[in-house]
């Protein structure tokens, strides 16, 4: 199983999960735009996103720089609540950005699966 469904799929599905959750948080903010006293939330990664988001590259030469040890960190989310009222333009931008990123990630996953399918088909 590990040979077929490798780190990339694992990382991408984590990413889809994050985007989906973030979408819910953004939608919740947009819905409560007129609610007096509502504090908008933002979903962020708890550990360093940069490290968790990067896949380690294989080192085939001793002179290659080794990947950072934390390259497969689990995606741990954190909610940050702001005391300022909801800013509709920021939230709409977040919505659009998140929507695009979600679609991109799903597309990448789909292509990964299609790649696997091609391999399975062609070796028959």
């Amino acid at each position: 199983m590990k040979a077929l469904f490798d780190k990339t799929i694992h990382l991408l599905s984590n990413m889809v999960d994050y985007r989906a959750k973030r979408h819910m948080v953004v939608v919740s903010n947009i819905t409560n735009i007129d609610t007096v006293g509502y504090k908008p939330s933002e979903l962020t990664f708890r550990n360093e996103f940069e490290k968790a988001g990067k896949l380690a590259m294989t080192t085939t030469n001793p002179r290659h720089i080794p990947p950072s040890p934390n390259s497969e960190g689990s995606l741990d989310y954190e909610i940050k609540t702001s005391d300022e009222p909801v800013k509709i333009d920021t939230e709409m931008a977040n919505l659009a950005e998140n929507n695009l990123m979600y679609n991109t990630t799903v597309e990448m996953l789909a292509r990964k699966f299609r790649g696997l399918e091609t391999v399975l088909k062609e070796t028959k």
Partner: protein, 141 residues
Amino acid sequence: MDFSTTFKICGAGLAAARARLDVVTSNLANVNTTKTEDGGPYKKKSVSLTSEPIEGKFNSVMADALKSVKVEAVTEDANAVKMTYEPGHPDANADGFVATPDINLMMEMANMITASRSFEANVTAFDATKNMALKTLEMGR
């Protein structure tokens, strides 16, 4: 992640925006109403919204952040009455003054626009959710 929860949140937002629009429309329609069933002129109404936690199986982190919206109350402003001098009016008192609703048309129009904008924002959010759901289905193709 279930998209139905997101759809529900969007739906609540749409309903809240529509409730605001309804009340604004009612205020605008009754800007000159001097007689109501309860007696006296029409009283200006306003909507207050409140956020509401969503029932669902989320972990505690998400449960704090996800809030739906609902109409808490529609309040009447009993003081929003102004006396205008109109001796020929059937509802005029002995001095010739009529109690009319004190509704600021500009405020109502501004409220209408903000309500309609938040409605649009919710529609956009709904649309985005729908796109995401469809995109997810595409993954299996």
